[in-house]
């Protein structure tokens, strides 16, 4: 008999049990529901008792409220503001608290073109952020250079100077796309990434 069968416990699935479900889609936007794996290491009983490893719980807690660094660089910054403002309301996903100081931020949303002059500052801001920290590259410019692929003044993708966790393509990405990026980042953080 395994431990699971002995105890009246079932593995808790945070995606399913705790947060609102959204339809799983694959890259092409077609519905392709994959079997969601329960978060490993967390078991819940019926009487409000949860057994978990500390790491799993901490990751879960972290993933619920990543505070972004307010770091608008170019056109994408306007869409980032629109994402945080009333209509698209990023606070539904706990990520609306744009901090102006890197010391208080968890995730850096690089929204816009990074120029060669800006690159050392960006790296320094990244280093000033406390661990654990994540980076979302918003827009084509930050992801790969985008439209300015042959410009003499811009960096060809922010991943050349900081590690990037989520790329959000688009020029500029729609607010829905950035929201999706934040959701993907939450999934990644919950898995311990």
């Amino acid at each position: 008999m395994t431990a699971l069968e002995k105890l009246p416990l079932r593995p808790i699935d945070f995606e399913h049990d705790v947060i609102q479900r959204r339809p799983e889609t694959d890259q092409a936007g077609l519905a392709a529901p994959a079997a969601t794996a329960p978060t490993p290491g967390i078991l819940a009983g019926d009487d409000n008792i949860v057994f978990a490893s500390l790491t799993a719980l901490v990751n879960w807690a972290r993933s619920r409220s990543p505070w972004p660094l307010g770091y608008g660089l170019a056109c994408c910054a306007i869409e980032m503001m629109a994402t945080a403002a009333s209509h698209h309301d990023l606070s539904r996903f706990g990520a609306e608290v744009f901090r102006s100081s890197p010391r208080q931020a968890d995730v850096m949303i690089v929204a816009g073109t990074v120029t060669h002059k800006m690159a050392p500052r960006l790296r320094r801001l990244y280093e000033q952020m406390p661990e654990p920290k994540w980076v979302i590259a918003m827009g084509n410019c930050a992801s790969s250079g985008g439209e300015f692929w042959d410009s003499y003044a811009t960096l060809q993708g922010v991943d050349t100077i900081v590690p990037v966790d989520v790329y959000v393509p688009g020029c500029p990405p729609r607010p829905e796309a950035l929201t999706e990026g934040v959701l993907r980042l939450r999934e990644k953080i919950a898995k311990g990434g």
């Binding site: 403002a85 042959d150 811009t154 500029p172």
Partner: protein
């Protein structure tokens, strides 16, 4: 003029700060405060080096170039039509007006006749774009002076404008909608009715939400009335244009003084001029321009003629040899493109005159001797966009 001392800080050298006497008679060490490039109220990536004596700003040196993307050089590498997409990114808050300017320069060189329906559509999208730009300004200026609510209200209305743009040309920002000799698409069915409904709502929101919220708010009045005074002669001397110049009583509105398109025919076109020259006057001018835009759009809807929206130019249009300077009254001031064509597929040179860049020049003059706490309120009222400053 950057003096040696500030130059040393800029390069990270160790310098001994001089002792200065503030106006209260207290001896303090002169303080150099670095503001930006990542600062929430510099509206992008401007960096200011402020020399402070106590609470007062002695000198302010703007450091630019953190968003220099080489747009003007890229214009020379792209064909004329591809360049329109890059003109979008100069002032990324009011994209349509930049496109208008860029295509206008092409049309002037090629002597292209724009169909009247296209001209009217251009006025509609220009004015909508101006509204979107002023809404972003109003929201962020509210944040600058300590109010969060205007941002939420402004972006609510801006979203509706962007929805209309999306229906028109498929993109929320960076539209790529203008073409030499007209615009890309005709208005979709039902678009005008939606626009009219939006204008009704928007007109009401201006009075009830923006004006009602801000002009009766004592903190907003305290922080803007009499702050950042620019006399008319200073505005002219520094080459300031747009709402800032009009807020100082300079009667310069290119839609009237250097008319283009169908603006001379529009009877509602009366420039909004205020005499005071302070931050509050500039706020008044911008709110007045939102109302003016609504009236202009309504007039265009009533008089909208039928016909084509794009001149017939053939499959491969070649820009003839020549050069032209075309200006449009942008949301921030005079947007200008000086284009030289040598008959090839790409422009030989396209110089972009960003109004923010020229408006920014008045900032060191404005901040000298002011309280450091007013710096943000003054800077916000100038409404610059760094994409246009650095290009």
């Amino acid at each position: 003029m950057v003096d040696a001392e500030v130059q040393a800080t800029l390069e990270g050298g160790n310098i001994v700060l001089p002792i200065v006497e503030s106006d209260e008679g207290i001896e303090t060490e002169e303080l150099i405060l670095n503001m930006g490039p990542q600062h929430p109220s510099t509206h992008g990536v401007l960096r200011l080096v402020l020399k402070l004596s106590g609470e007062r700003v002695v000198e302010c040196i703007p450091v630019m170039g953190y968003l220099h993307r080489g747009i003007e050089k890229i214009f020379e590498w792209r064909t004329y039509t591809q360049g329109i997409r890059y003109a979008d990114q100069a002032d990324y808050v009011s994209n349509m007006l930049n496109e208008h300017c860029y295509t206008g320069a092409m049309e002037t060189i090629g002597a292209i006749e724009v169909p009247r329906r296209a001209e009217y559509i251009r006025v509609i999208v220009d004015e909508l774009s101006r509204c979107a730009a002023h809404l972003v300004w109003l929201g962020t200026y509210g944040l600058d002076v300590g109010a969060t609510t205007p941002l939420l209200y402004c972006f609510r209305d801006r979203e509706e404008i962007l929805d209309l743009f999306e229906e028109l040309c498929g993109s929320r920002m960076n539209f790529n909608y203008y073409r030499p000799g007209g615009v890309l698409y005709d208005l979709p069915p039902g678009w005008l009715a939606k626009l009219e409904r939006l204008l009704d709502r928007y007109e009401e929101h201006i009075e009830s939400d923006y004006v009602g919220l801000l002009e009766s708010n004592e903190i907003f009045l305290e922080r803007t009335v009499g702050i950042g005074l620019i006399p008319a002669h200073i505005a002219v001397a520094y080459g300031v244009s747009g709402p800032i110049a009009r807020g100082s009583g300079v009667e310069v509105d290119l839609r009237r003084t250097r008319p283009y398109g169908v603006y001379p025919e529009l009877t509602e076109m009366k420039p909004v001029i205020m005499q005071e020259g302070d931050a509050f006057a500039r706020y008044k001018v911008r709110v007045g321009e939102m109302r003016l835009a609504i009236r202009l759009i309504r007039e265009c809807i009533t008089n909208l003629p039928g016909g084509a929206v794009r001149a017939r130019l053939g499959h491969v249009w070649k820009c003839p040899k020549g050069e032209a300077y075309y200006t449009v009254e942008g949301a921030k001031g005079e947007v200008g493109v000086y284009m030289i064509s040598n008959g090839g597929p790409n422009p030989f040179r396209a110089k972009f005159r960003g109004p923010s860049f020229l408006n920014l020049q008045v900032l060191p003059w404005l901040l000298r001797g002011r309280l450091v706490s007013d710096a943000v309120a003054i800077m916000g009222s100038l409404d610059f966009v760094l994409g246009e400053v650095d290009r």
